[in-house]
Every structure is written in C-alpha cells, then in structure tokens.
C-alpha cells in the first residue's frame, strides 16, 4: 500500500471516530445535533456535486433540483401515501433519478457555461412546480410532515439516533464514492474532465458517460435531500432553488473538488460558519462570500486540494493530481473551462 493511501485511510478513521463522538462533543461547543446532521447531509450533497465538478468536469449549477426532489419525494409520499422511514428515502432518491433522467438529455446537448445555464434553467422548472402547485406542495410556505416510523417497528428515530443513521449513509456513500472514482469508469470520467475531445478519440461515447455520472450524482443528492427533509421534517421550494445549488458548488470548491474529503470540509466550514455567523451578525453571507472569492483566486484547488498538493510536492512528487490513477486517483482541479 502506498504511503498516501495509508495516510488517507488513517485520516478517514480519525474522522470517523470524531464523527461517532460528535453527539458527545457538540454540546460542549454549543452546537445543536441537528446542525451536525446538516453537516453530514450537505457533505453528501456536495460529494454528488464533486462527482460532476471534480471528476467529470461539468459545472452543475442547478444540482439542488435533485436535492429538493429528494426532500419533496420523501415529504409528499409520507404525506399522501403514509410511507415509512426507509421507503420515503428510497422514493426521494427515485424522484431525483427521474428528474435527472428527464432533464439529462437536454443538458448533454451543450458543454461548458451553456451546460451550466441549461442546468439552472431546468432546475428552476422544479422550483416553480413546487412554488405553483400550492394544493399539493404548500407552495412558498413549504410543507411540514412528521418523521415516519421505521419499517416493521413503531420507532421514529429522534434527532440523536437520526444523526447516527445519517453517519451510516455518509460512510456508505464515502466508500462507494472512493470505489467509483478508482474504477475504470471513474478513470474514464477523469479523462473526460481532462480533455473531452481526446476521450472521444479514444473511443469513449462521452455523452453516455456524463449522463450516467449525472444519474449517479442525482441519486446521491436525492438521498441527501430526502434525509434532509426527514431531518427538519419540512420541504420548501428554497431547497430546489439555484441559490442552494450555488451553496453546494461553493462547499465543493472551498473544500477541494476532485478530492474525497474536500466536500466534507467545505460543508463543515459552510454549515458551522453560517450557524455561528448568522447568530452574530445580520450580514453573515458577506464574509462567507469573501471566503469563496479568496479561495477561488488564491487557492483554486480548495483547502484540501492545496494541502494534498503541498504534501505530495514535499515528498518529491509532481502534485497530487499526477499520481497514477491505477494506483490511487485524485483528479486535479483545473480551471473550469467554458
């Protein structure tokens, strides 16, 4: 096993222990457990975004559509069909997948900035649907629903156990993500990100690859959205909105796109940062925006990307992105090209 792999594994285990202890640590830091749950769920959503930004090279500026579809998918099926805990999450994922299946073919007609603009436009369609159909969705006010009981029990997890279930999802998605970006399919995605024309001339039907990446991303984001809905027992149009998409993109780039843990770091800073700042100052979004500007201008590889790069160079490597993908991939964060 290569040293970098072992270091990554140790870092992952330390992180896991910290996350397991979080419900004990959080009260000492005056953090509500629901905020910690939010960090995990936004980290999952940012991982979904990272698959597209960091490993496929497309900018998903409407990605929250899938997050919101997950939340509404869970909320509406609980409200109208009285489905139980895991079924509602599954149906949320399904809703996001159907959404991606419907808009994907339109998005794939363009690349670069046009892809992003189309993504915003199609994403907003879902926003307006949720906003308009007041009878079903509650419109602007959103919809409240109760957290249902788990299948086969009469147990509806309270916030404390809910946190651990979400931690389970986070670990599961993290491992699957790690396996995915190391698979031949993941390498093909990285090739598409690096140079799509070349990837085509090596025989890859790149539309098909990007479409499947979009579906996987939507499913992960739908999972995050459905769980978020269950977490706050609420769904509203803002969860589908392009501002929310922007937040997930921000977390990804801030933490380090093209790295496994970057989205988590981004989510941690974003959620905790806005939680602390918003209670202290009314204009709390300004410092967060400034941080993003500094990040993009000063260290475009994000926090984790910059650290990994420095470590790799100290060892005499060529930067973390140059590592052979066969032995362990971390794709690079290059400038996003129009």
């Amino acid at each position: 096993m290569r040293m970098s792999n072992r270091a990554g594994l140790i870092a992952a285990l330390v992180l896991l222990v910290l996350l397991i202890l979080t419900p004990q640590i959080a009260p000492l830091l005056h953090l509500a457990i629901s905020v910690c749950t939010e960090v995990l769920l936004f980290a999952i959503a940012a991982m979904a975004v990272n698959l597209l930004i960091g490993y496929t090279g497309v900018l998903p500026f409407g990605n929250a559509a899938f997050f919101g579809l997950g939340a509404y998918g869970a909320g509406l099926t609980i409200q109208f069909w009285h489905v139980k805990f895991f079924s509602s999450i599954g149906l949320g994922v399904l809703a996001a997948l159907i959404g991606a299946f419907l808009i994907g073919p339109f998005l794939l007609r363009r690349r670069g900035i046009y892809f992003s603009l189309l993504f915003i436009a199609f994403g907003q369609v879902f926003y307006f649907l949720a906003y308009r159909f007041t009878d079903i969705t509650g419109g602007e006010d959103g919809m409240n629903f109760a957290r249902p009981v788990i299948e086969g029990t009469s147990f509806s997890p309270p916030d404390g156990s809910f946190y651990y279930m979400m931690l389970g999802f986070f670990v599961l998605i993290g491992i699957l993500f790690w396996l995915l970006v190391r698979s031949p399919f993941g390498r093909s995605l990285i090739a598409i990100k690096e140079n799509e024309t070349r990837a085509r001339y090596l025989g890859l039907d790149t539309d098909r690859f990007i479409f499947v990446a979009l579906l996987i991303s939507a499913a992960i984001e739908g999972l995050a959205g459905a769980c978020y809905g269950l977490s706050i027992m609420f769904a509203d149009p803002l969860q589908l909105d392009w501002h929310q998409s922007g937040n997930f993109v921000l977390m990804t780039i801030l933490g380090g796109s093209g790295t496994i843990f970057g989205p988590f770091i981004g989510s941690l800073i974003f959620v905790i940062g806005s939680d602390i700042l918003s209670s202290a100052i009314p204009w709390w979004q300004i410092p967060l925006g400034a941080l993003f500007v500094v990040c993009v201008l000063g260290f475009p590889k994000g926090i984790l990307g910059t650290i990994l790069d420095a470590l790799e160079k100290r060892r005499g490597g060529f930067g973390y992105e140059a590592r052979d993908t066969l032995h362990g991939t971390v794709a690079s964060e290059r400038e996003i090209q129009p």
């Binding site: 396996l179 995915l180 698979s183 140079n195 024309t197 090596l202 025989g203 993908t325």
Partner: protein, 256 residues
C-alpha cells in the same frame, strides 16, 4: 494491390460564407502513407476534421473499410479502427504518460464503462500493451511523469502512442511536426515511419514541412483554396508546375 481502405467523395464544408472545403475527393490505399499539403488556409485541417468526424460534412460521403461513416459518431469510428492526433497535442495534461495510454487501452478492451476493478489477467494484458507502446515511442523513462511537464516533442509522441492504444488500422496525423524543434522532428519522423514499416498501419497526414512530406509520403494530395490542385507521387508533385507556382518554392524541391 490498390485496396482502398478509406474514401471520401465530394466533401463540402462551409463556415458561413467561407468555402473551406469545396468538393474534395480522396482515396487512401491500405498500408500506404499519404499526405495532404497546401498553403495556409487551403482547408487541410477542415478536411481532416470533416473526415475524422470532428465536423459534420455539409455534403459528400466518407467510407471506411467499405462502410459509410459520413454521419457516424466519433466513438464508432474509433471502434472501427481509426485513430487521430491534433495540430496542438490533445492529451490529458495532468495525468502521467502511463495513464494517458491507460484510458485508451481500457477503452479498447471494453473496460471503460466498468464499475468494478479490472481483474488480474486483464490488468496484465493492459500493462504489457502499455509497455509496448511506451517502447514504441521511446517514452519509457517518462512513463510516470505528468504529460504537461514533458517537452513538446515528447507530448506529440505520447499523443501518437495514445492514438495507437485503441488498435487502429488507419492513423490520421494533423500536422505532426507543428511547433517542433529540428531534433524533435527527427524523432517524430522516425516514429511515423515505423507506424508504416513495423506496424503496417495506413497513415494519412497533413503537414507543412515539405522535407518531411517528400521523404515520408508515398502519395501526396495538394489542396488550394478548398479544392484539389494536384495529386500524385512525390516525384510527380515536385515536378508539377501548378504546385510549384502555388506555394512549394523551387529551392526546397531541388534540395530534396
């Protein structure tokens, strides 16, 4: 002997009012090296892009191995055995040379869409093939360096090796000598010669460097303002008055 592997008939490509390629036909004999030359703006690159599926032809017909591929998507052309390089090296800059080859090798082995890791035997086959390609272009020493850090000539050789990774029978090279220093040119010419002599591939290339064209090509087509000006062996082209007047320049031909 004249076994035509690739044929273009009456290709037309306009960009707005610009008639970049106007009714060009061309046949490539299997196992030959053929060149397309012409002054700047003659439509060489446009023709090349139209033939390789990068652009859609406005009209005309392209046949490869007897199959009409005029509207075939690029990945199908590659699967049929076409490979190409670009005027500015088209590579995966942040990946190592080895990984650059790996992408094409796993694509050729139908593993590109696989979610599980490749198994040991497949891995071994791919690694052996990568070794052979690295040997072929003499880049073994740089195998694990990111391509972006290599010299221009090595990047070009890496790109040629990549285009070979998908087992092509026809290799199309778009100005392989563009931007290369003299010493690098010699290396690349050697590799192109080997494509033909060692691997028995059919090579179609666009080139500006007349010395290279006259020494490598068996047949040459001259384009001028989107049309075919002349076609023939290097000797015939060198002797052609119209071609001389159009652009070649007397000294070059006499010195070869």
């Amino acid at each position: 002997m004249s076994d035509v592997i690739f044929q273009a008939e009456n290709i037309v490509k306009h960009f707005g009012g610009v008639h970049a390629v106007e009714d060009v036909s061309l046949s490539v004999i299997a196992g030959s090296i053929q060149a397309i030359i012409g002054p700047n703006g003659a439509g060489k690159s446009t023709l090349f892009n139209a033939l390789s599926g990068f652009y859609k032809c406005d009209s005309g017909k392209v046949t490869f191995k007897g199959v009409d591929i005029t509207t075939a998507p690029i990945h199908r052309r590659i699967a049929m055995g076409m490979g190409r390089t670009f005027q500015t090296s088209s590579i995966f800059p942040n990946l190592s040379v080895y990984d650059n080859l790996l992408i094409g090798l796993q694509s050729a082995a139908n593993l590109a869409f696989r979610f599980r890791p490749v198994d040991a035997t497949q891995h071994k086959t791919i690694e052996e093939k990568a070794e052979r390609l690295l040997d072929f272009v003499n880049l073994k020493a740089s195998a694990h360096r990111p391509v972006a850090e290599l010299a221009h000539g090595s990047q070009r050789l890496c790109e040629i090796a990549m285009s070979l990774s998908t087992d092509p029978v026809l290799v199309m090279l778009d100005e392989p000598m563009a931007g290369l220093a003299h010493a690098e040119t010699t290396r690349v010419v050697e590799v192109i010669r080997k494509l033909h002599s060692e691997l028995g591939l059919t090579v179609l290339f666009v080139e500006h460097n007349m010395r290279v064209v006259l020494s490598l090509a068996q047949r040459i087509m001259v384009l001028d303002r989107g049309r075919v000006l002349a076609e023939g062996t290097p000797a015939e082209i060198s002797a052609n008055e119209a071609v001389r007047d159009a652009y070649i320049g007397k000294e070059v031909i006499e010195s070869v």
